[in-house]
Symmetry: C3
Subunit: 156 residues, 3 copies
Amino acid sequence: MTADERFAAAARELGHSFDGEIKIGGNYTPVVRDGGQLFVSGQIPRVGDRLLYVGAVGADIGLADARTAAAICAMRALAFVQRAAGSLQAVRAIPRITVYVRSAPAFTQQSEVADGASDLIARVLGPVGAHTRTSVGVFQLPKGVAVEVDLIARVD
Amino acid sequence: MTADERFAAAARELGHSFDGEIKIGGNYTPVVRDGGQLFVSGQIPRVGDRLLYVGAVGADIGLADARTAAAICAMRALAFVQRAAGSLQAVRAIPRITVYVRSAPAFTQQSEVADGASDLIARVLGPVGAHTRTSVGVFQLPKGVAVEVDLIARVD
Amino acid sequence: MTADERFAAAARELGHSFDGEIKIGGNYTPVVRDGGQLFVSGQIPRVGDRLLYVGAVGADIGLADARTAAAICAMRALAFVQRAAGSLQAVRAIPRITVYVRSAPAFTQQSEVADGASDLIARVLGPVGAHTRTSVGVFQLPKGVAVEVDLIARVD
């Protein structure tokens, strides 16, 4: 299977489509290509017009759901990479992902939440998806969602 | 008008000067050039020795003021780009801005605050100012300010 | 003294060894090389299996300890740069560090905490360690630690 086929399979399994226009808020752009680096804006778990996983992780949202939210954010980011590069087969590396977890006061499993994004990237991209990661617990996120993920991809 | 002239016009309209030495705290540097990428340190809404907009957005600071705070942070960042590159005309792209909003517990309009920075960058740089963006709600910021913005610029 | 010797001296002074395998959690990788840029994952103050400095700065952890925590995070990051590049003598620049400080509600000295990382980098790398920096106050961090630091290094 190609990376694009694995992406499609992951979308089916998550039960969401990442085709069509992906809505983003605000006066900015989802992707900027700078040489061979693709910067992707911070993605929240939104599918079409629906916000998924609104709330603080560790209070309103459990770990399993938070991991799924992180996977959906990563899928959105990869969808933008796919469009900008023509195919996910063009990805050579993922130098960085940053995972922001809206956290309840005592919730300290930000790394475990971020694994939802990391596992998804590994599954879709294979070895070239090896990435560095920073995960932190923030106080709020846009529209109150549970997780936000941004990334930088190196493409051909 | 050139980008530098639009920068000067925006400074007049905001009512602040971004000339002269821009004070930054701590043992680090405001700009590092790495190849054609200029990394700019996190900027807070400080003009000269005066801290503007201290407080949590959604409690002490309203949305309109928070947007102005974000615009001032962006102006400071662009001032450093201007000095490092000689002119804002040298900017080719803004691959990334990150906007940290010190947020009251229920405040979820981080994207709307970040628009204050995005709109300013669009106004000054025009189409080359198109940028990716991550905005998050943090618990505190240095000196208790409401907003902090960092960015990466691609220059000639 | 070389940068590697200064690194070893700093490790002795901190009283910790950064040799051997440095444990990291989750499904990701500590370093990715992208052209001449080395991205290093977010580092927490962990030495071997021991987590150091767990708690909120300004409540459970004082400023001096938080600065040491930031220095340890920076040492871990430099240890990965050293391994990936063969030697710290290969470092040409540190374009960016980001310092996340788990903060008590009224704690606003994030810059002063981040100086712990900046001072360590200056000491080990000298002038090529000049870096841009963003420091923010977050609500939680993985495993409840007080500080997390990531960075990008330019190497030969």
